[in-house]
């Protein structure tokens, strides 16, 4: 299940006085099982691009092939594509509408015309995956949920459709650190255990540093960087020029280097940073107190 985009351009309100081009000549391929992070300053076109992945937008200029099917082709079943490519929006309030959590999560599979028992099984599985206890939350009123719980319920609602690709659009924004941890853990589990291709759109470099293997950086409607995470994060100056803050660990490594410590700069996460710092401290003999 793969996505291949060639020569994609997109304009909003084309033909009106408000016309604005937001995507310029996008070329990109995402393969099965990848974990791709898409990052960029706001208004870079990340969400617009992502909405081509599940055929919410169909190309007017350019070509989008999902799983070998051309989304612009009139014979392509777009609804099937939307079941196979799940999309979780940032604001769960735009999605949750049924009276109870269980009913809302069941909405997706019911649209897929699943038999009753399978719907039940999928709802249970989805709730378990996102960490919402079945017995506590199944009959809960959606208005009684906290922000983080709503977000998890929304993700569960999309997971219940059993997608092969999952697009997460800025789902950690506005969450407290614990909420963030919970969501990231869920996403990691989905990628590792269920082998779902994850496309993670975020403005937080730290989130991406933890999970993404490949990073695509967008700015002003174009893809400006596309490569392995380590490589992209190392380009601190370029990222800063685009208005993006590099992951905190990398920032720390750079500052240590500036102060004269010979630490490597291509660090991805806290563990690697600790290892690197320990190694340097060992060399300078301060090992005992810090190990």
């Amino acid at each position: 299940m793969s996505i291949k985009i060639t020569g994609l351009n997109h304009s909003y309100k084309a033909g009106t006085p408000f016309e604005k081009q937001v995507l310029f000549d996008i070329n990109l391929e995402i393969g099965q099982g990848e974990f791709v992070g898409i990052i960029g300053p706001s208004q870079a076109g990340k969400s617009t691009l992502a909405q081509y992945f599940n055929a919410i937008y169909v190309p007017v200029r350019g070509k989008v092939m999902i799983n070998g099917q051309d989304t612009a082709d009139k014979n392509t079943d777009l609804v099937k594509i939307r079941h196979a490519v799940g999309y979780v929006f940032q604001n769960p309030d735009y999605q949750l509408f049924k009276p109870t959590v269980g009913e809302d999560i069941a909405f997706g599979p019911l649209n897929q015309k699943c038999p009753r028992e399978e719907v039940e099984a999928r709802v249970r599985e989805a709730m378990e995956t996102v960490g919402l206890d079945y017995h506590t939350f199944y009959k809960r009123d959606i208005f009684s949920l906290s922000g983080g719980q709503k977000r998890r319920a929304a993700i569960a609602g999309v997971l219940a459709c059993r997608p092969q690709i999952l697009v997460l659009d800025d789902v950690t924004a506005g969450l407290d650190p614990q909420g963030r941890e919970d969501i990231l853990r869920v996403i990691n589990k989905l990628h590792r255990d269920k082998k779902i291709t994850i496309i993670f759109i975020s403005s937080s470099m730290d989130d991406l540093a933890r999970l993404a293997k490949r990073i695509i950086v967008m700015a002003r409607g174009r893809i400006v960087m596309d490569g392995p995470a380590r490589e992209i994060f190392a380009r601190v100056e370029q990222l800063k020029a685009l208005g993006l803050e590099p992951p905190q660990v990398i920032e720390i490594m750079h500052r240590l280097k500036d102060k004269g410590f010979s630490v490597p700069l291509s660090i991805l996460n806290l563990e690697e940073a600790l290892e690197a710092i320990r190694a340097v401290l060992k060399k300078t003999g301060v090992d005992q107190a810090w190990s």
Partner: protein
């Protein structure tokens, strides 16, 4: 996909044309006069003059005509249904049947009334659109409030009414945007809005209408809190940063309006249709 494409109601396009520079009180009163006239004219001739007047106004605003007319698109199905109803159901005494389709008989009165009604709706839309496209929300609020001020003495809450109306207008594009996001979120879960028979499609409005309403209420509450936090306690005693002032172009506009209205009234009174 964009639902906000054809929402032209409430959308303000800034400009520096004569119409843009008119005092909002002038524009609002003119709009009311024109709307009142619209309800009384009944002949093709009168409508032709009215349409010509509106065409002149639209051109004066220098807003692309295509854009102004694009707001009519959502209305077309309803207009068509209304026209067909008038065509086949109007049978006032003295009318003749001009043709029949299956069991439906179309009368010439029906054709005339249906067409006139449709034209009336289109012209109504044009009057309101010219007003909202050339007058910013703040201007509209000030203008409406000023016009209603004399009625405060008899207990009409002029400022509050103006505020309510303007907030409602101001949120039309915002709600349309939110509607689009909700539609996308439900589309992403497999709701096919373009499939199914009429009943099925109507049922699909719930996954969209509910979040929209809930969010609208939440927004309303937040707005009230924000306004109260900035000390809004209603209209009495409220002062203004920019005070409205009429100028020479307003006098000119009123003269043009008066001449046009007089002409229309003459047409209404002198030339009446048989029915």
């Amino acid at each position: 996909m964009e639902l906000t494409r054809n929402i032209t109601l409430g959308v303000y396009l800034p400009g520096d044309t004569t119409i843009h520079r008119l005092d909002p009180r002038t524009k609002i009163s003119a709009a009311m006069v024109l709307l009142a006239l619209l309800f009384f004219i009944k002949t093709y001739t009168a409508f032709v003059f009215f349409a010509a007047f509106m065409a002149a106004l639209v051109l004066l605003t220098r807003i692309p005509v295509k854009y102004v007319l694009s707001g009519l698109k959502p209305m077309l199905p309803v207009l068509l249904i209304m026209w067909l109803c008038q065509l086949f159901l109007q049978k006032p005494p003295g009318s003749e049947i001009i043709f029949s389709l299956w069991i439906f008989k179309a009368s010439d009165a029906g054709l005339r009334l249906g067409t006139l009604m449709s034209i009336r709706v289109i012209l109504l839309y044009l009057v309101v659109t010219v007003l909202t496209m050339t007058t910013s929300l703040v201007e509209l609020a000030d203008g409406a409030e000023a016009l209603l001020k004399p009625f405060r003495k008899i207990g009409v809450p002029s400022q509050e009414l103006a505020m309510t109306g303007i907030i409602a207008l101001r949120f039309v594009p915002t709600l349309a945007e939110e509607l689009e996001k909700i539609v996308k979120a439900q589309m992403a879960r497999g709701v096919a809005f373009d499939r199914g028979n009429f009943i099925q499609r109507t049922a699909k409005i719930f996954p969209v209408l509910l979040p929209l309403f809930i969010n609208a209420f939440k927004r309303g509450e937040e707005l009230i809190t924000a306004m109260e936090a900035r000390n809004y306690t209603g209209g009495s005693g409220r002062t203004k940063m920019k005070v409205l002032k009429m100028c020479r172009c307003d006098a000119g506009a009123f003269i043009v309006l008066f001449i046009f209205a007089a002409g229309m009234v003459a047409l209404i009174v002198m030339v009446g249709p048989p029915y």
